[in-house]
Amino acid sequence: MRSKTSYFNPTLFKKNLTRFWPLWGGASALGALIPLALFMILVEDRFAGFGGHPLEFTHSCYVALCYFVPTISLLYAALCALAVWGWLYNPRSVGMMHSLPVTRKGLFVTNALSGLSMMLIPYAVTGALVILVSLVFGLFEPVGILVTILGVLADSFFYFASATLVVFLTGNPFAFAAFYFIFHFLATGAEWLVSQLMAAFYFGVGFVNEGVIEFLSPTIYLTRRLHPDVTYQTTSTPDGWIDNGVPTAVELSNGYLLLVYALVGAVLLALAWALYRRRRSESAGDVVAVGWMKPIFRYGVALCAAAAGGILLYGVLFSSLESGSIANPVYMATCMAVAGVVGYYIASMLLVKSLRVFQNSLPGALATAAAALILCFTVAADPAGVESWLPEADSLESLSLYVSGPYGRSLGATLADKATIQKVLDCQAAIIAEKDVLDDSRGEKHYAHVYLTYRQNGRRTAWRSYDLRFTPELLEESDALIRLQGVLTDPVVQEDNIFGILSHPFGYSDDLQNEIRLTGGYVGDVYDTQTQEIYGSDLLPEQAKALETAVRRDIQAGHFGKTVLLTNLMPDENAYHNIAYFGDLTLNYTVTKLEEGKHRTYSRTVSFGISVYCTETVKALEDMGVLDGTHKLLTMAEHGAQQAQQYPSDVPYDSPSDGPYVSAGSAVVYPEEAMHGPA
């Protein structure tokens, strides 16, 4: 007779919850601090006269759901899984639990429900108190609360399921912690390793974080893809400015991902059950509890060690022998083989829990070394042509260019004009062709940093980053550097460099027609030779217009961009400081945007530095009376000398914020490329 089997054991469930109450109790107590803090903030707001809005409250809930719940769940799920499944890691407890009159299915279901309960209790406590606070302050919004609850449920289920799967793959808590971390960040880590290896061999190719397989690292993927979208009410005011304080709708963008991950969680839990059915009780204490996982672990660790350890070893031992940024394949292959074999033996030691792994291990170690050598030489040979790859100009939606020189004078532009894009691509082709000359760290030199981003269909698709060695001789002889100088002074490039913010005042995804009005300007750091004082001068709209016209004439004449590659290696050792003016010029604009039938007006500021080459601009300032015989702009060198004379004890400083930059409102916004430069 064999009947009456139960899939849920209330005694075990109760025991789990009572045994581990400090875990979920502590988490609940910590969680309860959030509504408490919220309560205090809302009380303070009420005293200050702010009423709050239910949708703002929903927005806060979504922010928590998008950015905090995944990370918290990642860590907390590991603790809950260890609590309810930890007995699997101890042979004595495994013996006791499996000798009890309960089937493995009963143990699995009961423990899984216990763990999920432990996961959800703190969220339930926090959520209930948050709802209470929202009701007290009249901020309750049922849809937002419901979506948040469902999101938390999905997150919790997925993370607990993933932790449960890892429990059944491993045989001790240390292995669990390592595997759990690997499980959640393997994809990103592997992408990082591959790109590091490519960066070691390919000129201009660096860390790639395109997120092609980022979905396999759910915490990163969720925090990047999941976000709240708020729509604000727009109201006209008598002076034309728009007040936008009241939200009209809040949506959870990409919220479907939570459902997808919850479904994935169900699959992971099913896999965990399949592993448990086949799991041998005697695997308690092992690093890897599943037989077929052992070779994967052994050679996976070996491969990762070969890549990571090889790069590290090469950096320590051989990087000083390099003449450029490209690694020597033979040395790198040797380092990778050594690191791979070390990794192989470490993995073997972990698997057998013994240091005696060398007997009969030669074939495996040799296979690892051979695989490391093949991997290294294959990557170094660049069979896919990654280093020399150039996109077709016609295939690009835009190309972003950022160039900085030795003194920080920089250029940033986003180009859509195909001819100009082709000009930049031709320059890049020349850079690649001359990599042996330009990627050379020997001798006296300066570097220009060139960073290119190619966009297709509105998203960044690839980038290249070059550090180019240059000398005065190379600037005249190198085809690549000559082309680069041509790009730097190109009117289309400089127009976007200085006035680009006006073309896309709300980002590159915004294709609305905007009305732009020049409202004034400012000339900074004008020197009065009589009083020996430095002052700033405001410009009227017509003066600003004249200045803008003059600047555009200088751009067309190729006067801008000439100072980027100036160095102290020039015949004039102080070339840059003698040519670049110290002060910045500023032009102020208003941009009126048509949104949902109403106009909203924003301020935008264009600020840039000039040099003695910008004759039209200087002449315009003279024509409008800002500059004359006694009022002049100071070059860097003159400014330094003036400062030294005025403040003898101060050390004259070298370079202020002299790169072109634009600002939105009061906040300085550097060109996008500067923000996205390589880490």
Partner: protein, 297 residues
Amino acid sequence: MIQVQDTVKRFDGFTALDGTTLSVPAGCVYGLVGPNGAGKSTLIRCLTGIYRQDEGDLAIDGQPVWENEVLKSRVAAIADDWYYFPQASLRDMCRFYRGFYPSFSMERYEKLKEIFQIDEKRPLRRLSKGMQKQAAFWLTLSAMPDYLVLDEPVDGLDPVMRRQVWSLVLGDVAQRGTTVLVSSHNLRELEDVCDHVGILDHGKVLLERSLAQLQDNMVKLQVVFKDGGGVPEDLNVLHASHIGRIHTLIMRMSAAEAQNRLAVYEPMLVDAVPLTLEEIFIYELGGADYAVKDIVL
């Protein structure tokens, strides 16, 4: 009745049970003996559903043990390394066991309080090894199992408590017909409580018989041969030793048969002495190349 048929259990290439076959009659106390590493604990773990055998059958009352929740509610076990939750007291463990074993008797639990003088509220980890063992017996006997599987059960118990727990176990056997499978190296003790014995070596059962049959199948004789002669070479003995003229012979046969065989040599003295279980164990395993070796260090 516990039946183990051609059971094989391997661990990473090592065969712990190698075609083990044994049978424990219902209502008997079966002593499972064998050298270290013979496979006794592995067999017990298979019988209690901890391990799943790779080959063969394990059945209790004709039902397979593996994942049989109903059957396992009638089987209680005390492992040699009995586990309890680290923070738990005896009372906590009692509540836990009670939730799993439908036949758990609180009445018996309360009665046993008189025998096992243990503070129920004290964490088990703070108890001595012997007291933890007592706690294990207390809970297991309260579960009122039909089958009791014990692995080195009285290790750590003082002589009085040993007698006490055996008395309780044998009481259950007599009153409730409990079947007991006990693995131990304490053969003197097993001799007192077991009615059946199985000897396990290298994962195989060398022999299993009732204790009476076992003692009947092997004999220890003290013999004095005529003219001070030695043991005749054609006499099939398992072990022979002598002190002066008195030879001690171990022979695998009944006492009557051995005396008949020796009669041919007209010995001056033949005296049959009963064998202890320990001696049977030693001489049986001596035949299986497991004997006390005289090594000069």
